[in-house]
Amino acid sequence: MVRVVSLFLPSWPADRLRRQAGDAAPPAETPLVLIGHDGRRQVVRAADAAAMAAGARVGMPAAKARILVQGLVVRDHDPAADAQGLDRLALWALRRYAPIVAADPPDGLVIDSTGADHLHGGEEPMLAGLIDRLASSGVRARAAIADSWGAAHALARYAARPVLIAPLGHSGSVLTGLPLAALRLPADMVAALHVLGFERIGDLLAQPRAPLTLRFGPQLGRRIDQALGILSEPIVPIRPDELIEVRRNFAEPIGAAETIARHIGELVAQLCAGLEAEGLGAKRLDLICHRVDDRLQAVRVGVAMPVRDVKRLTRLLIDKIETIEPGFGIETLSLAATLAEPLAERQILTTMVDDGTPDVSDLVDTLVNRVGERSLYRAAPVATETPERSVLRIPAMAPDTGETWQGRWPRPSRLLASPEPIETLAALPDHPPVAFTWRGVRRRVRRADGPERIRGEWWRRDAELTAVRDYFRVEDDAGERYWIFRSGDGEDPNSGSQRWFLHGVFG
């Protein structure tokens, strides 16, 4: 199944201009329009959010916009620079998100995110992250993900607020409510369809295709089929000039996993030779398989440190072969190091001076490519008393911190995600309960240790200013040991609810 992200930048020319001008740019709240020539008239080519809100529209005569909007800043429109900027943005997305990315001029990007979203925590976090990142650099954006470029393109422009995720395997149903303009048709064709009484895409889908084709030509049917995902629409991935890329065409399409593996091995060797000539090491490899049916299949692997080891890189790619669907065959394989960093030749340490700790970075790379970067981590201590905040996740290959948790109180080997309330029979404020009921089972407390008083972190939230937890380690008749606490000090209602919770299980 293919998943395509379409990114829509509604005010790209204005945003790009502001970004480029930096400090010299008009402030964000000043309305800005870009004008260009339409024949002999000067018309608005692009407008930012403030100008749009004040009534400026694309295509409006410049003079009218000047009258309509107070304090309007007018600049010349530069479509070439916009396109260049869009290409740069596509490169950024290529480095960051997925191997197949292309600019979708004049105001968007298209990303084939098939099999790449899990590295960003799934489709929703990926899109949200994409929008946030762009917003933080001053670019307004909307994005949608769907099963085809056409559908994603339409949804990003007409339905995303600011993000929309079409369900996997959706049909035309997500498109029926959208206006005809969402189909990427020429404006005069849309106008002509309006004249005929068609308003929404759904109206067109219900029509027999032949009369429409007779009247409007093949383009209309093609656009509809592309939006429905019936007709494939290849994305030509952007490739920067300096990219080190090797490719191989096959006279006879290949499909067997072993054959693909063999060719991958040869491509990697070739690529590594190219990298060596430049003194670089690959941090990320993208393998793109061009199938005979015009579909692209991409495989992306990354490593934590630059690598130029043929065996290791081959292994990483071969691990991913099972994600490639060769379909009727692959006619071209292309392999590129989309992220490369200088790699100096290093002398391999001999066993005589080896400090005895084997290098596990290749294993970490293999696993990262399998489960995603977020799922591989080390724990580092945080200087806090609150148990649930005491563990910080750091990258698996981060340098050793040499630190560990302070404190001599025993900690449970299982910590519940959130403390669970327990029914207790407590005697005195400063004592642990004599019995409690957790998950329906009543337990009599035989022995107990505590209290360990943990105070709230007042610098985080006001509510924690007076908050207190009294932790006890308790053992029941059967010998099971639990970590329970009372929220509050047992007297002052401001310190907590005085209710008991179970927070962990000791081994």
């Binding site: 084997p358 596990v360 489960v371 948790w405 025993p410 449970p412 099971e480 962990g504």
Partner: protein
């Protein structure tokens, strides 16, 4: 019971017949004579897969089993890969069992299949001291793969059996290729002269061991360096009696 030359030579013959030219078999002793005597080679074999489960209520949370695994991992050399599906493992507790946070790389795998794949990858790598995988199901095929990977690299593999429900624990006991199989249940700690909880105590059941017999041990939980201990009252009494009896018989 031990050091009978006939049995030793038979074992040597069997290993010869098995024909696997394994590297010099090294073991990781527990440092407790009672346990090590029960394990062929005098300790937990390295380069092998071991199964650990929690007993009783601990079958679901496996808190004691996890700590037992941490203790074993602590006593190996090198980094430790710990593959989990549910993220309720509390790293400070592992640190208290001697497993420094810098040594552990956690992998959060979505399901059992991914866990097994990651454990296999870790075992095959060979640069790790121990690989711990929390799995619910472990069949003969999967465990055999892990066992072979461990044999090839010399890393110790620990399959921490963990179920979502108590009822699933019946799965534990199906044949697997693991070299040893352990069950760790909690026991009441020893009474202290003052109010409080004493050093944690476990009932350690060695359910299965290749070329050996099963046994039960009562031990005190891992200390700060991952070592178990024999409870004081057991270390005296019965052990000395046994020595006396042996002396009298022989």
């Amino acid at each position: 019971m031990r050091h009978q030359p006939a049995i030793e030579s038979l074992r040597a013959q069997i290993e010869k017949i098995e024909g696997q030219t394994r590297r010099v078999k090294s073991v990781l002793p527990f440092g407790i004579a009672d346990i090590d005597a029960r394990l062929p080679g005098g300790g937990l074999p390295l380069g092998a897969l071991h199964e650990i489960a929690g007993g009783g209520n601990g079958a679901v949370d496996g808190a004691a089993a996890a700590l037992f695994a941490a203790g074993i991992a602590t006593r190996t050399k090198g980094k430790v890969l710990w593959v989990i599906t549910r993220s309720d493992l509390f790293a400070p507790a592992l640190a208290q069992a001697g497993l420094a946070p810098d040594r552990v790389i956690y992998v959060e795998a979505g399901n059992d299949k991914t866990v097994l794949a990651c454990v296999e990858e870790g075992l095959r790598h060979g640069g790790l001291g121990a690989v711990v995988g929390e799995v619910a199901r472990l069949d003969m095929t999967a465990s055999r793969r892990l066992q072979l990977c461990a044999e090839g690299s010399g890393s110790i593999g620990l399959a921490l059996r963990r179920w979502r429900r108590q009822s699933e624990a019946v799965d534990f006991g199906q044949p697997t290729a693991a070299a040893t199989r352990w069950r760790v249940s909690v026991m009441p700690s020893a009474a202290l002269p003052v109010p409080g909880v004493g050093r944690h105590r476990w009932l350690l059941e060695l359910i299965r061991v290749r070329a050996g017999e099963s046994a039960d041990f009562e031990v005190e939980a891992c200390d700060g360096s991952g070592r178990l201990a024999v409870p004081a009252e057991l270390a005296r009494g019965p052990a000395s009696t046994a020595g006396w009896r042996r002396g009298a018989a022989g």
